[in-house]
Amino acid sequence: MTTIAIPPGMPQYDDVPRYDVAAVRADFPILDREVNGHPLVYLDSANTSHKPRQVLDVLAEHYARHNANVSRSVHTLGTEATEAYEGARAKVAAFVNAPSVDEVVFTKNSTEAINIVAYAFSNASLRPDADPRLRLGPGDEIVISEMEHHSNIVPWQLLAERTGATLRWFPVTDNGRLDESGLTDLVNERTKIVSLVHMSNILGTVNATSRITARVREVGALLLLDCSQSVPHMPIDVVDLDADFIVFTGHKMCGPTGIGVLWGRTELLAAMPPVFGGGSMIETVTMGGSTYAAPPARFEAGTPPIAEAVALGAAVDYLTGIGMPAIQWYEKQLTAYALDALGGVPGLRIFGPEVPVGRGGTISFALGDVHPHDVGQVLDSLGVQVRVGHHCARPVCTRFGVPATTRASFYLYTTTEEIDALVAGLEQVRKVFA
């Protein structure tokens, strides 16, 4: 037997950052429960993640001790709430290496964040004096891809309808990768914005964006990356990505529902007209007209989800404490294990990359011709929670000629034993529908 020595000076195997998965699991109260008489096997974290006690405690503590509205009170509680809310913004900004805290806009979720950008374009298109980069009309083009979540398709279809611009898209290869072969044609002088998913919620593909970014810069367009599935699972650095906007959502990264993030470059956010009007987003209001606050407040009309934002800050602390590089490595190992294990199930077909490279821990598959609803139902009877359906990415299902898929998705608390339980459950499915 020979062993291959990694040359000194190169990263060694033991250099890989690790964490104690059992200790992490103990932080998540829900992982103790049973489903249909079986221990819970939760393989649906791409849909929503579970929340550790550290986040739940902060959420409860905020309402129990610090509850008040933000940005408008001189009293002590109001000051505490405002500090907690703005503190969370600073944590989120640091988490994605945003150059400025003011580049983080709190939204309801990724969907709202994308819609804010799309409507800012729309509103700018109605104003002749608006920044020309944000103005769209007939002849201009918007580029997305065939592997987008509906939330990164429909807002652009609507924007195209309103402005007369044309919507175009990158196709997907048979292996579930982004087909960049038409890049120079697709992204051209007419392109105003390219909005792409960073990691596909259905295929698991992590898109390499550097060639696209270079082309976007070359033609003077803007780039939005939907990082809903990547921010929870890997270190994300907006400077390194060189995007103009990224969006992500709290509930997929150990935070609560109802809180999401739009990150945008300072000068772009400053150039964007407001989208929602109301309290907190103004500078001054008269009956004759209003002027608007600087970002991020300009895009946060009304009372924001305060406790949710604070708890998202706690989620960021939690993830940072474990270490995003460690989480990324652990999930890469899980993904390799799962691809191997699923590859041994007779009749199973994986949609998306079949190697654990350039992909995350989200795996869609078909089991023979058993409908995914039936797969999911049998798995549920065994305590195994997977998502079935089109995963809000129907064009991907159409691309691969299926109405729906079954999807298993992992997170920092997932274990190889749970993947074994999935594989055993699939055996049961095959028996019922043999």
Binding site: H373, D374, V378, S381, G389
Partner: protein, 158 residues
């Protein structure tokens, strides 16, 4: 929950060996034909149901679609129960099936009315699957209305 109550032998049998599958033209050219295509937007299941009738009798209830075992078996049972029936009687069966599916497992089905449809009693206890079972029946209702029989299409609480 017992999986067997959902996947009854009768349901699996209809799924694996569907009765009357495939869209057919009316045998009698004088028949009125109505067709409806329904989708379940959450899962992508689709069904097309076609009704051929002289206004009094449903000469054929044909269908085609893709979907889970529950929706496809339900279409097979729909065909079997309603083809050849008088329109009034057919809608009584329809009503009984919808009542069964909306009953959260509290409705005892009458086998004389519902035939193999009684096997769907267990499905009513799985709220996530009730829509699967109802999909062909809702499409039937629209198709029948377009062929000039039955009430106009209405929403039924699933």
């Amino acid at each position: 929950m017992q999986l067997e109550s959902l996947y009854q032998e009768i349901i699996l049998d209809h799924y694996k060996h569907p009765h009357g599958r495939g869209l057919r033209d009316a045998a009698d050219p004088a028949d009125r034909v109505g067709e409806a295509h329904h989708v379940n937007p959450t899962c992508g299941d689709e069904i097309t149901v076609r009704v051929a009738t002289d206004g009094a009798t449903l000469h054929d209830v044909s269908y085609d679609g893709m979907g889970c075992s529950i929706s496809q078996a339900s279409a097979s049972v729909l065909h079997e129960l309603l083809t050849g029936r008088g329109a009034t009687e057919a809608f009584e069966v329809h009503e009984a099936f919808v009542a069964l599916m909306s009953g959260r497992g509290q409705v005892t089905p009458d086998e004389d009315v519902l035939g193999d449809g009684v096997a769907f009693e267990g499905v009513a206890r799985y709220p996530a699957r009730v829509k699967c079972a109802l999909l062909p029946w809702m499409a039937f209702k629209d198709a029948a209305a377009r062929a000039g029989v039955g009430a106009s299409p209405t929403e039924v609480k699933a």
